[in-house]
Amino acid sequence: MEKREPFFWLTVSSSVIILAFIVLPLFDMVTDPSLSMLMETLKDRDVLHSIWLSMYASGTAALIAFVFGTPLAYLLARTHFRGKRLIESIIDLPIVIPHPVVGIAILSVAGRNHWIGEALSALGIRIMGSVTGIITVLTFVGLPFYINTVKDGFEAISPRLENVSRSLGASMAGTFFRITFPLAWQSMIIGLIMCTARAVSEFGAVVIVAYHPMIAPVMIYERFEAYGLKYSQPVAVWLVLVCLLLFLVLRVLTLRKAKES
């Protein structure tokens, strides 16, 4: 048998510690509520609705990131210009801003004391306490995760392929949709997963913009405050399970397709 270097064991032991660090508390939380309690929670319409709203709002946020973020990611991957670093830092801002600050910032723009808020209310769009508001917040916090992932994806594709296509007479749009997109779509799926995952976990910013209607993390908080840990845990377990399942399915599907192609 080949003798392993001590360095190898160092890497293994750190990995074990890290995994235990992540899994142990979660495992404890997931296994703590009894099965009957979990089933009981599943019959609660408010809980089901909050989990559905969480998935729906996060998914919509990811789709918005897909539509508007993909061109931006492409631009950042393919061009070099002055101030590019600045733009990249701005895109990262939602990651570093404390969550409640995000909520307050969005509310102050959406209020009647701001021209944007006035324009919105003239259009009949309400941010405070609405699903629109929740999606706005989730898009805000999720965008950097989508853009950064997809930008890396575009950068990994050689510009030469695009150059060949262009030199053979294809337009920029044609080249993007027929050459770049088919090569980069995997990174887009991963970007969508990252963005949705970030959005599902958001609490601090959402609770400021919308307490009702309740997304799952807000409901977990409300249950914890009003009834204690015992009644908030099952909601958390279901949210974690649903997310885990969804992301697992997405990953498996994309990996399989990637192998086939």
């Binding site: 609660d44 307050i104 509310l107 102050s108 959406a110 209020g111 009647r112 004391n113 701001h114 808020g117 941010i127 405070m128 306490g129 609405s130 609770v207 400021i208 919308a210 307490y211 009702h212 209607p213 908080y221 409300e222 249950r223 405050e225 009003a226 009834y227 015992k230 009644y231």
Partner: protein, 327 residues
Amino acid sequence: MIRNKMLGTLVVLSCIVSAVLAWSAAAEPQGKLVMFHAGSLSVPFQAMEKALEAKYPNLDLLREPSGSQKAARKIAELNKPCDIMASADYRVIDKLLIPNFADWNVRFATNQLVLCYTDKSKYSNNTNADNWYQVLQRKGVSWGHSDPNLDPCGYRSLMVLQLAEKHYKQPGLYDKLIANRPKENIRPKSVELISLLQTGNMDYAWEYLSVAVQHGLKYIALPDQINLGTYQHDNFYAQAVVKVTGKEPGTFMDMKGKSCTYGVTLIKNAPNKEAAIAFLTYMLNPQGGLKVLKEMGQPPFVPCRVPTEEMKARLPEALKDLVEVKK
């Protein structure tokens, strides 16, 4: 002989020194002073803490804000060492601490519910104590309160609406008002409504007077019969009943209306009684703590009150002059 004389002088001197030391120790409160109090008293007590610690540099006031019930339970059930307990509902002291853990209960200040607004709130120019309940029914007026299940200010706001129905003799008023308050306008804690007011996302919000004053908000003060601020109206207040969630989802309990009257007491086995009395002497003084409370929007009783002569007799000597007997 001379030696004896010197020894004698030394003894006398040391006696004087130790006497002076002992006296100054008695006169100068020092050490840790533990105080449990209602969360809504945090701001005025913080100001009092600063004033007192400036006066007695060796004194360290340790404050633990929490719900009033919880504060009393920490003393009565968990036996946590504590010198002073101040409650947002004076009856908590009567119910949970007297006679085993405290001898007396001084009512020192009040709070009340007010309707807050800003310059930009709709109809803010014409809204007053006589027509607020009509304004809150108008379409397009956005108003809110905190979650009655999470925040006492929330169920108290609803009580005010119920009492308004009776006071203004407007049957069905409560339901009409609630119909114009979408669920989305409920927030977990009342303080969060302030940012909604200030950013123009909401026109009117229910708050405690103290919160309104401490945040510099404009507010409409309501008649004593409905503002939950005067304990003489407790019987009228008791007609308001709000259903809040119980210990588990699907269960409920009724909260009955009662006044926001603050009470304070000295815990019987207080570890630092001297310092506690020094603090209370300052706190119940119209020029000291009561002035602070007034500035912070928690109108004090000047002088503070106990219900019976008998209870007044049980007060520490230093406090007797600061308290009157009044039902």
